[in-house]
Amino acid sequence: MALVIQNNKVVYVAPPKKLTAKEKKMLEDAPVNHKVIKRATSRKYNVV
């Protein structure tokens, strides 16, 4: 996930802070998966 192993140690990796204009556009233009969002948000989670 945000953790990787480097030289036998766990290292935290952050997402890229600099994106190219093309990458930004791809992110902006990405479709929203309404089906997954609806399924995820219509469920009751028992957080304690």
Partner: protein, 161 residues
């Protein structure tokens, strides 16, 4: 009374024993090297919980610990995001759709929980993506099937909210 719960751990309630407690209730990978990696990740992420760098949600059903997800705020480029720091599923429940989870696998259930939290945060403070760095290419395909976008030359996957 529901037996399914997501127990939330923050710096306020996570003791130094959190990783010991989790490791004593889960089965790690059968492969020695992967098992070592998982142990290292769990120990590290529990330390991050104690430092307020991440919040951990432990998925339990009765006495079974199914897995957990650890989340923190982040950004990809200029876009505010919720980041999955680590997702772990107990080896005993890996890859199995479970009736108690609406016939979803534990990993899918935990990601959908992250989507629900991300949408809540989006309503309150603005958020654009849920982001994660898959541990391997097999996982990458699973996340892509859920709607995560993979930018060329980037290892991170992004789910638009």
């Amino acid at each position: 009374m529901t037996l399914l719960e997501l127990k939330k751990y923050t710096s306020k309630n996570a003791s130094y024993r959190l990783s010991i407690d989790i490791l004593s209730h889960v089965e790690l990978s059968a492969h020695l090297e992967q098992s070592r990696r998982e142990r290292g990740f769990i120990e590290d992420v529990c330390k991050r919980v104690q430092k307020s760098s991440t919040v951990l949600y432990l998925l339990k059903h009765a006495d079974d610990t199914l897995g957990f997800i650890a989340l923190s705020v982040s950004s990809i480029g200029d876009f505010p995001s919720l980041q999955i720091d680590y997702l772990f599923v107990n080896h005993a429940f890996r890859g199995k759709p479970l009736k108690i989870l609406d016939n979803l696998k534990a990993s899918t259930y935990l990601i959908e929980f992250a989507i629900e939290l991300a949408k809540e945060i989006q309503d309150m403070a603005g958020l654009r993506y849920l982001v994660l760095l898959p541990d391997n290419h097999k996982l990458q395909d699973i996340y892509k099937n859920m709607g995560f976008l993979h930018l060329p030359k980037q290892e991170w996957l992004d789910f638009k909210l």
